[in-house]
């Protein structure tokens, strides 16, 4: 298909591909760690964008799929001895299935009601997991250090986890691109612009939205498993932070919703800003306030995000800034 040759399509993928290769080649722990966090943000923001950017449905509970999928994956690794790769996929699958079940009900709500429902789901999940015995209740689950031996020791395990995350992030980007340039994606964007008109034109909105929800939920599940595996433990408080949902939203908004490049740009910028604020002596205690101010300014003045703004100003560059 001609679309696959457009620069805008391979630029985001190329960026992540090259970045990851660079880290692997350089072999430095610090680069790996920073990039790991970055790739996590990119993955979370991009997967959220598949729902938010293409259908216009704002989920404030995106983190719940990270938490639940991550918990499942971690449980399978730590309690059942499953290998990382399979457990991560299982975690993603659980999130996907859950999204499918919840989605068909919750996606009937529109606008702010949907957003509220997603917050409710996240909180209910956190409270449920805190009580759920097999998942360790309020104290969560732990990995014995010996588990890392199966991967060649702790350091090796960290590198393997990094590579897995890198692959997953590439997968999200490719999925996002595939949706965007498909007939399915066109239907989603029609839903975003005017859901009722889209249905009258023949778009099967309920099914399309649910499928999109499932796709956007799968990746956080995988990413969550990788993250908790690397940390060696998981607790309800860590897994369901409403804050992380909002941060993902900010990254998508900052970079530009509905584009593939947007979440990458947004994640990098946000992470950069956050890093700077946390280490700067003046702003250290104020980083939340400054981030908030930043978000406010974006919402008021550049709601289309950086990439959206550029696309509007430079129509000729539209094919590059996807």
């Amino acid at each position: 298909m001609r679309a696959w040759l457009r620069p805008g399509v391979w630029i985001p993928v190329a960026i992540v591909l090259i970045w990851g290769l660079a880290v692997l080649v350089l072999g430095q722990d610090t680069y790996r760690e920073t990039t790991f966090t970055l790739l996590m943000f990119v993955g979370m923001a991009s997967s959220l964008n598949i729902l938010l950017g293409y259908t216009g449905y704002v989920s404030f509970g995106h983190i719940v799929f990270f938490g639940l999928g991550g918990y499942m994956g971690f449980y399978l690794i730590s309690q059942q001895g499953w290998p990382l790769y399979v457990a991560a996929l299982a975690g993603g699958a659980l999130s996907g299935v859950l999204a499918g079940l919840l989605g068909s009900a919750v996606l009937r709500l529109r606008g702010a009601y949907f957003a509220l429902a997603t917050i409710g789901i996240n909180e209910a999940a956190r409270a449920f997991v805190s009580n759920f015995g097999p998942f360790g209740g309020a104290t969560g689950l732990n990995l014995t250090f010996a588990t890392y031996n199966a991967y060649g020791g702790a350091t090796q395990a960290l590198w393997i986890t990094f590579i897995c995350l890198w692959v997953v992030t590439l997968a999200v980007l490719i999925a996002s691109l595939a949706v965007r340039h498909s007939r399915f994606g066109l239907g989603l964007m029609a839903i975003r612009e005017d859901e009722d008109a889209a249905m009258v034109m023949g778009v099967k909105a309920p099914q399309a939205k649910t499928l999109t929800f499932m796709i956007s939920a799968f990746f956080p599940g995988v990413i969550g498993t990788l993250y908790f595996f690397k940390n060696g433990n998981v607790e309800p408080g860590d897994a369901f932070q409403l804050h992380m949902s909002i941060e993902a939203l900010v990254m998508v908004m900052l970079g530009g919703q509905g584009t593939v490049l947007g979440p990458i740009l947004g994640a990098v910028t946000y992470q950069g800003l956050r890093g700077y604020l946390l280490t700067s002596p003046i702003f250290k205690s104020l980083h939340l306030a400054v981030s908030g101010l930043f978000l406010l300014l974006i919402v008021l003045f550049v709601p289309a995000g950086a990439v959206g703004w550029l696309r509007a100003r430079l129509p000729k560059w539209r094919k590059v800034l996807e």
Partner: protein, 248 residues
Amino acid sequence: MTLLECNGITKRFGGLQALSEVTFTITAGEILGLIGPNGAGKTTLFNVVNGVFPPTQGQVIFRGEDITGLPPYEVARRGIARAYQVVRPLNDLTVTENVMVGACFGRETLSLSGAASVAGEVLALVGLEHRADQLAGSLNVAQKKRLEMARALAAKPYLILLDEVLAGLNPTEIDAMLETIRSICRQGATILMIEHVMQAVMSVSDRLIVLDYGVLIAEGTPAEVVNNQQVIEAYLGDPKMTERLMAG
């Protein structure tokens, strides 16, 4: 061949009786005009046919299949398309993309490239080919109405529901739109159109049906309908003015 049959369509919204026992048929290839005073239930009838909401009672039979109560996207797949009175363009998509949505999800479920070529043809038909890459939100009202038509056409429907597509157009634009409607009909589509611009709907329709307070009060050729006493009282008002309308 009977394309669409509406049997005893009744619709109540709480205490309000919007439609009562509306029964009529549409033959393939004809242009049927739907007229009536404001609030008569014309758009409600469209909504029932098109699946936006089901009737309280009654059936809608399309090409021999009972489609009563099916959701709008199922109705669209079976070949009924609609152009809205208050236009609803997909603002952040280009004109071409707008039309492609109609093409991809209508009667023929085309791929993106197939849809793109259909879009090109249809845009040429309605005269919007020069604005193909413009964002739909940036068009003026007349252009948006053409886009609305183009989207409906791109779905290659058997039946097109046109809801006051002439509203807000000047006489030249009206003539052009009527010509487009006639050519659509020549290419095989059947049209059910709600209109208030009397001269236009009289001149282009093969037959007319008249609604008043949700009840079908007349059915027939324009000449028959216009001389119908009930219609005149309800709607046209003055017999002499009617004559003038028919003549002019």
